[in-house]
Amino acid sequence: MAILEIKNVSQEFGGLLALDRVSMTVEKGEIFGLIGPNGAGKTTLFNLITGIYRPSSGEVWFQGRSIGGLRPYRIATVGIGRTFQNIRLFKKLSVLDNVRVGMHSVSRAGFVSAMLHTPWAVKREKVTCEKSMALLKLVGLENKAIELAGSLPYGEQRRLEIARAMALEPSLLLLDEPAAGMNATEKEELLVLIRRIREMGVTVLLVEHDMNVVMNICDRIAVLDYGRKIAEGTPEEIKNNPRVIESYLGVEL
């Protein structure tokens, strides 16, 4: 069953066609890889799915409904979590608070009950706190809960972003170059983490440059080049696709 359908989307920036009639379908429960050289339009596609950009044309469907034109917070609320290529944490909030903000749409307490400290709000807070700690544990940051997010080393910041995105309780998780800047051990841990996330029932759409990571973990892969989708298939098929080798793998590997 398809969880995400991208239908013929194009994105133009003042004359530059960053995405050119791209279509793809992500199935529920899979790990779907998106690769391609720098500037191919991968991040743009993420921004478009999450409502940060409005596509110039085309549609995005999620769980059987069109989400084109929805504000980003609405898209997050219907169950799409994401991380950013250039990490965007709330630097001056604690690690725990970053995850708790991620739980915003899951918890419900409003302004009045928060100000009045109603027992109901206090209880919600406790639940939020426990769930957030569980997520920190998932990404291995449970000992860093009270640190400021901005003070973490790079690799941990990337994992914190994943925890924050998971706090939405998403059904689809978009990861934009999660392994960038990580060393070999960290990358190994990341692979384990992504698999765990999938086991939790979350579909993963992954942009990554490290071919080891991508080929290792993805069920299917799509390749973008200059805004066009030039190939789609299993890792085996992609590795042997002449167009892909010519425009991308040949250079990188």
């Binding site: 003042g14 940060i52 409005r54």
Partner: protein, 291 residues
Amino acid sequence: MFWQQLINGLTLGSSYALIALGYTMVYGIIQLINFAHGEIYMFGAFVGLFLVLTFKVNIFVAVLGAMIFCMLLGMLIERVAYRPLRGSSRLSALISAIGVSIFLSTLMVLIRGPKVTSYPAGIFKIAYFDLGTVEISSLQIIILVTAGLLMLGLQLLIQHTRIGKAMRACSQDLDAARLMGINVDRVISFTFAVGSALAAAGGVMVGIYYNAVQPYMGLMAGLKAFAAAVLGGIGSVPGAMAGGMVLGILENLGIAYLSSSYKDAIAFGILILCLLVRPQGLLGKATTKKV
């Protein structure tokens, strides 16, 4: 009546345009509302006044002197109060800019006192030309022509010089410009210099036109010029020129046909309306911020 207000509006509008250009150029490159810009305009007006009173120079020399002074002032402000904050949050930079603005207007109060200063009567000989239904003064002609020439010069600078090209590159993408080997610090400094010089010219001319110079004149003028820049499309140079003119004309028509006590409300109303209906302004393009 209408045509007369149109001419008065164009005169006023050309000075708004001169100030608005500084806002828009700086915003285009570093996305900072240079809050102290109105105070630079005010300093320009005072320097012009000083030159006229002390050295009995003519308008053109006064304008030129004020432009040079404010050019240096603008670069100094950028160096001291904005450059150290280049990597900080936008809020910090904006608050720093407000600090500069307060500092400069208070400094002028300490130097000159808070009162309005006027040019001595008869220091400029003003001729009036009767064109049938409208009357235009030599002063208005001087202002319109000077403003026109300055804007023309700016266009030439931006379109046809190396530094102009660098400015355009920086406003497209600062990081990319830096990677291409453009000395970004120099371009920003230069942008402040040019913007400040234009504001100073506006200050001298408005000071002479209304015959009133005052330390707090920068706040309202700066605000109106900002409204003009937003109306034209912030970041767009032709937009700032057009926005200034449109605002000047609307304000004069408003004074003529509505009431003069609320004349400052007109610019504000336009600003709000513009943000509601067309935040990218008349000539600005809706762009998508890169994420």
